[in-house]
């Protein structure tokens, strides 16, 4: 059994079938890129993985443990859903930093709350854990090159810096799998590089990641596996070199040709 197993995911909005049977698996430390034209269901798939949408059918298991079973999703308690969500991290296209908190507080807000609500801890233990959280946040900020911005507010830093903060914030919860939904699409071209570099560094740190992206060159370099989605199904899946230099399906050929034309 692979580290991540996604089986038979279906999702409709009204009578529009957006995902029509998605199956794939991923080993620990592997990076998967998902490409495909807009509207093919990539965001919806990531949202199902993070329980922001309820899949109509299918299962998702991590490390041999079923974390989402669409049949049972209605019976999950709020607490269960929250715990399940923490197995996955999600970095949004629009960053979604909390504007009223400075950078370091954006990182520490959620983990601190988890410590505070843990009734099994004594006051001293809580204080210790919170100190550790702050230290960790500082280290993560350093690793994305933003130590000097710890006290800045999101409106005071560039989009590229905001997205790097968002990545560090997602890492604070130590997700098994980190998902990115077009992390550079909202950025000016000159700012995409710094974000992609950070993601690349995470790969060398053995992070398991799923990246929805339109940056073909990046997808080719960073991924162990590529999925091409079209109309809610996986049209083609394989190794990046083979996918990009020798696509099998007509749809992928057309898609790659179109994305080449853009440059």
């Amino acid at each position: 059994m692979e580290f991540l197993e996604v089986q038979g995911i279906y999702k409709s909005f009204g009578n529009v079938e957006v995902l029509r049977g998605i199956d794939f698996s991923l080993s620990k430390g592997e990076v998967l890129s998902i490409i495909g034209s807009s509207g093919s269901g990539k965001t919806t798939l990531l949202r199902c993985l993070n329980l922001l949408e309820k899949a109509d059918a299918g299962t998702i298991s991590v490390n041999g443990e079923i974390i989402i079973d669409a049949k049972e999703e209605d019976s999950y308690t709020d607490k269960e859903i929250r715990d399940k969500r923490l197995r996955m991290g999600l970095v949004f296209q629009q960053f979604n930093l909390f504007p009223q908190y400075n950078v370091i507080d954006n990182l520490t807000l959620a983990p601190k709350l988890r410590v505070k609500e843990d009734k099994s801890l004594t006051k001293e233990e809580k204080a210790e854990k919170i100190e550790a959280i702050i230290k960790e946040a500082e280290e993560l900020l350093a690793s994305v090159g933003l130590s000097d911005k710890a006290k800045s507010y999101p409106c005071e830093i560039s989009g590229g810096q905001q997205q790097r903060v968002a990545i560090a914030r997602a890492l604070m919860l130590k997700p098994d799998i980190l998902c990115f939904d077009e992390p550079t699409s909202a950025l000016d071209p000159e700012l995409t590089g710094e974000v992609l570099r950070v993601i690349k560094e995470l790969k060398s740190g053995d992070r398991t990641m799923i990246i929805v992206t339109h940056e073909m060159e990046f997808a080719k370099n960073v991924s162990d596996k590529v999925i091409f989605m079209a109309d809610g199904v996986i049209e083609e899946m394989g190794e990046p070199n083979q996918m990009f230099s020798n696509p099998k399906s007509e749809k992928l050929k057309a898609f790659l040709q179109k994305s080449d034309e853009k440059f």
């Binding site: 993070n50 979604n96 504007p99 009223q100 507010y153 409106c155």
Partner: protein, 214 residues
């Protein structure tokens, strides 16, 4: 009557004006939040009832609502239930709660979905998301319209005189019976001073919240 005698008389009435103002805020601010939750409820019948209620309260003159709260119980049951002051506070609180609820609703609905989802994927509870993420952003958004509404409340308190609550304008009108008319115009000074203080207060608060952008 000397200037000082008039001033003291008016100050008495102004005390009542301030009492109506303060108590209305105390009740209407939280009640408005409850009404706004009702008007955004996913439970359709509740939402419909609340929205119709808000429509009625906002659609009928506050003066008429004062009459209704004060006189209707007496008309129906033979004896009044509320004294004049209580009736005033009830009518004002309900009326202002409805206006506040619409401001709250607009503020809450303007929060980008992504803010809430970011909290969700970080494993926060709904309560934590509301108190730690949404609330501060809602407050920042609603300070200007709330400032407006609260300043309107200062002047609306004058309506209470229709059910013979002795607020400042009522006192001034009484003095007219003694053939002195200038105290009526003098009341404007009190209102202006009150509104001036509120304006400064809201300005200060807006500035304090300006360290971030939503």
């Amino acid at each position: 009557m000397t200037f000082w005698q008039v001033t003291l008389n008016l100050l008495d009435g102004f005390g009542m004006t301030c009492a109506i103002f303060a108590l209305t805020l105390v009740f209407a601010l939280p009640l408005g939040l409850i009404i706004s939750f009702g008007s955004m409820s996913k439970f359709k019948p509740l939402k419909a009832v609340v929205r119709v209620f808000v429509w009625i309260i906002r659609g009928v003159p506050l003066m008429l609502q004062l009459f209704i709260v004060f006189y209707l119980p007496g008309f129906l049951f033979g004896s009044p239930i509320f004294n004049r002051f209580t009736a005033t506070i009830i009518a004002f609180s309900i009326n202002y709660a409805c206006y506040f609820s619409e401001i709250y609703r607009a503020g809450i609905e303007a929060i980008p979905r992504g803010q809430i989802e970011a909290g969700q994927v970080l494993g926060m509870t709904r309560f934590q998301i509301f108190t730690r993420i949404t609330l501060m952003q809602v407050i920042k958004r609603i300070v200007p319209p709330m400032g407006n509404e609260i300043i309107t409340l200062v002047k609306d308190t004058a309506l209470a005189r229709v059910i013979v609550v002795v607020e400042i304008l009522f006192v001034a009108e009484e003095l007219m019976a003694h053939a002195i008319i200038w105290p009526l115009f003098y009341t404007a000074v009190f209102y202006l001073a009150f509104v001036g203080v509120l304006t400064l207060l809201f300005g200060w608060f807006e500035k304090k919240l300006s360290y971030y952008k939503v």
